[in-house]
Subunit: 587 residues, 2 copies
């Protein structure tokens, strides 16, 4: 037996017991004829005491223990003289009688503490040491706890978890598929699923009624901030349901999770906001509702009411009222102006109006507008004395709104309003079914080609497809899209029409989705589904800045696992067996 | 609302209620002015009645419903006149008032019934229809139930489920790796894991203490009977444990599963049998203990005691006693002889001795042995009058034992002794650490290169590695290896020695396992683990002949998904982006 107890469980009531612990040396220090060792395992830290006067040989051995040695110690539980109220085990210590070094350690490349001295790169290379830090381990424990809660919740709602294959066929978004050459079928490739979308729809056609899967998904694309080439979805699908059924069920799941994990009670009914409203009020389909500063449109007030040509030529003018910030300095205002002019934001400039606490007004457009117009702005914005109004304008309303959204979030950050311990969740509904792609010069499916149009809008499909609303919904929390889904088309004729609008030839549609189109011919039930991003959900619950922090072995921005040194070249023998040649001439 | 109830829940106590059901038409039949429809969903079957005298239009529409139409029906629950005791809903019927066809169906290519008329190939192509058959669906429901039970059991034992990556680096058994070209890193490849072995060992080094994962694993090899290119493991690892700790814990898990799923109580302590004993008594490291017919070695009795040169030259002679089969006919004995001479078994011949019920003896070697020798065989075998003794011999003891094992299982099948509702589990322990590979002309690791040698045998490592026992264990049920694992080496020097014996140069070991060898330098804990094959475990619980029957979308023997038509060729554009060329000239 390697241990009688863990390093997290002994208390005052255990005093006098002889125990054996095993774990890692967090630190060892000598103090007046004694050696103190903090022994760490997953469950906690316990202090060991080696007394020179008891056993000088043992104490000498203990004093040589280095950081991260893995040791086993037998001793007697004893009440501490100077208790440590910060540790659950802080009332006791172990008077050590035996010491067994299970495995030595060379000096670790960074300190194994929550506030480590290791940079990102070195911690990724030695991820197995990084994972020893309690803060990292706790994120993965939380992830485990959440998946257990999710599975048991869905099981209680009659969902069945079904494993769908990882080696599937290529899909229309195939450009982003990872492919896998088959040795048994030379020249042919499997693809890794970007999601189990079509397979879960087949399971509905199979009558599985309620399916879920915590599923690995894969996307071979340039990794923007906080994307991973492999990620995990809580993937769900239900038959014989309407939009409200799906929303209610998964709202209850989210409520259960927030309560169990964070002790937070979500409202009895979450807000549902249309996509148009979200864009108008927050310039985003995933608004952060932890704070206000809603957009106020100022076209009527500022266009044509003064001599500022930028506004007079604008298609959109909108502002946010930043409470209590009229005393911002020139330097602060310049910083914010620089922020909105960064290429990632793309605004041409920023207009500010300070409604000072003393009732005076100072703005960057004083020379273009009368005080009366500025007073009208104050009224329209609902600004008070002491508030700062920030205004953006542009010739494309939605693009300007997106810029204003970025500014709003920046101001939220600056004012400390985006509290990681506060959770504001809502549903966004009534997404447009299609969006125009400038790149492809055609309509694309906003979600995917299987999304059901709003039945009220079906007459618009032929003439005004861009006005058609989808039966689609996103679950948004704190400005992050955590989940999303839709009702699916279950009628093969409507599905064919959708493919037509999306520019698929019948041949291409059949080649790519023939199995699904055929399946619709055998009594497809009405069905709908939803997928949550598990990595994002855990990140929000844990208050993490990056999904990487809740992934055991994440990849970096180049898609590399620097610990495993993957991907890497493979043997010529393997390439020959696959009948493949690497041809880097185009580099 | 699409339905008020499922097709499996209405009972006599619901009579008089107006309900709405939705599901598929199992069958529709007219009978004297009425149309009866069996409506099916995942939860059951409910009988609908359309009465011509109530609503002739509705009844006419109902009579046109085809098999597998997806419909919604509203009506009143009514007590049946002729009850069906075989159906949970058999006491009631629904007097239909409204009928809504949600989706029509063309005629399915095979009948959607447990005893279908569809062959394997057509059912695989239309797997989404095959999955509608209750027997197939129940296998997947059982799989779900088992994974829920497993996860909650392991959670209760402080295990944490950690997702390890699917895109990893290539390993030494790399020849069987599926590889994935990376677009961001042209010319480089990820590999899909054959198991998370090294990653779970890293998690132990990280101090995770108890890890598990229900993990997809991948192997690109010629598919023997009942293998799949992707399969699922219940993968586990623990720190600070010895072999007995691991065996106890997972024995308890298995006991919990058998009890919950099948109502079967496993013995309080499962038998542990050494590998040598299993080979000697059953010729297999996965003996089927549901029946006897243990091997009896007959070297002393038959070698050199008669004129049969085959036996006199043999290195092994062994027999099984088939109870009550002395009356086998010439034809039956010929069949068995042909069976053992098939190339898959490989025996040169079969000797039989019939100890007839009347006390006479008839054997295929009568002319070589005296009656006294045959009587001695009878005594040694423990045969009774009426029993049939079957004997194989050969010049390689273990090969002959494997042949005799195949014969024993065949006789078990013929005698109906391999009852699918009986479960005989045991542990096989003390495996040899190495096995000789004729093909590679060197020692190979029986399990994998991280397996701990038995400490008692470490002195043998240099001179007699073939005699070294491993700290490894397999969980066997009904002749199938359901799980297996081992203590791992946690000492980097011992690990290096292992690589040396296995013929790895230091360079090759570092190239392939550098990350793990390095990790061992930072205080690696003693650790051990085990993995169960989920597909096999479910198959045994469900009494299935093939693991395919508990996989939603399995692949065929060529590794193809015939429903998705995967793998397939991909666009030249995709190949170009990956900077790969397909070169089929070697075909």
């Amino acid at each position: 037996m390697y241990r009688s107890n863990t390093c997290g469980e002994l208390r005052l009531s255990d005093c006098g017991k002889t125990v054996t612990l095993a774990g890692w040396v967090q630190r060892a220090r000598k103090m007046g004829g004694m050696t103190f060792v903090d022994l760490r395992d997953r469950y906690g830290i316990t202090q060991l005491v080696f007394n020179d006067s008891d056993d000088s040989d043992l104490c000498a051995r203990a004093s040589k223990l280095g950081r991260e040695y893995c040791v086993q110690v037998t001793g007697v539980v004893n009440e501490r003289e100077s208790k440590n109220a910060n540790l659950p085990t802080g009332d006791i210590e172990i008077i050590a009688k035996e010491l067994n070094v299970l495995s030595e350690s060379v000096t670790p490349p960074f300190t194994i503490e929550d506030n480590t001295d290791g940079g990102d790169d070195i911690r990724m290379k030695y991820r197995y040491l990084d994972l020893r830090r309690p803060t990292v381990r706790k994120n993965l424990e939380l992830r485990h706890r959440m998946t257990i809660l999710i599975r048991n919740f869905l099981d209680s709602q009659n969902f069945i978890e079904v494993e769908t294959p990882i080696l599937i066929g290529s899909t229309p978004e195939g450009a982003r598929d990872f492919v896998v050459p088959s040795r048994m079928n030379p020249g042919q490739f499997y693809a890794l699923p970007q999601s189990p979308q079509t397979l879960k729809q087949l399971l509905m056609i199979s009558g599985f009624d309620r399916y879920f899967q915590i599923a690995k998904c894969f996307r071979d694309e340039d990794l923007r901030a906080d994307r991973q080439p492999e990620f995990t979805q809580i993937d769900c699908e239900m038959s014989f349901v309407d939009q409200d059924d799906v929303i209610n069920l998964f709202e209850n799941m989210a409520r259960h999770l927030f309560k169990e994990v964070r002790g937070v009670e979500l409202p009895a009914k979450l807000q549902q906001m249309t996509w148009h409203e979200a864009m108008r009020r927050f310039g985003s389909d995933k608004p952060d509702l932890r704070f206000g500063m809603e957009f106020v449109e100022l076209m009527d007030v500022l266009k044509g009411t003064g001599t500022f040509s930028v506004f007079n030529e604008a298609e959109y003018i909108g502002g946010i009222c930043v409470p209590g910030c009229a005393d911002y300095t020139r330097k602060q205002l310049d910083q914010i102006t620089d922020f909105v002019k960064r290429p990632q934001v793309g605004a041409k400039g920023l207009v500010y109006i300070k409604f000072n606490a003393d009732g005076t007004v100072k703005s960057s457009v004083d020379k273009f507008y009368t005080p009366e117009v500025l007073a009208k702005v104050k009224e329209t914005m609902g600004a008070k004395d002491g508030d700062l109004v920030l205004i953006l304008s542009g010739d494309n309303a939605n693009k300007t709104r997106v810029q204003l959204c970025t500014l709003r979030l920046e101001m939220g950050d600056r004012l400390g309003l985006r509290d990681k311990n506060k959770f504001e969740c809502l549903w966004i509904v009534d997404f447009p079914l299609f969006e125009w792609s400038d790149e492809e010069q055609r309509l694309m499916a906003t979600h995917h080609p299987f999304t059901m149009p709003n039945p009220d809008d079906i007459p618009l499909l032929d003439e005004h497809p861009e006005q058609v609303r989808a039966k689609a919904y996103d679950f948004v929390c704190n400005g992050i899209e955590v989940g999303g889904g839709s009702l699916r088309i279950h009628d093969s004729k409507l599905q064919e029409k959708m493919f037509g609008i999306l520019g698929f030839t019948e041949e291409r549609a059949m080649a790519q989705f023939g199995f699904l189109i055929n399946a619709f011919k055998y009594g497809a039930p009405p069905h709908a589904g939803l997928a949550f991003g598990l990595d994002r959900f855990v990140s929000i619950m844990a208050g993490l800045d990056s999904i990487r922090d809740c992934i055991a072995f994440p990849k970096n921005n180049s898609g590399r696992d620097v610990m495993l040194d993957a991907p890497s070249t493979i043997d010529q023998k393997q390439l020959d067996e696959l009948q493949l040649k690497v041809d880097l001439t185009e580099e």
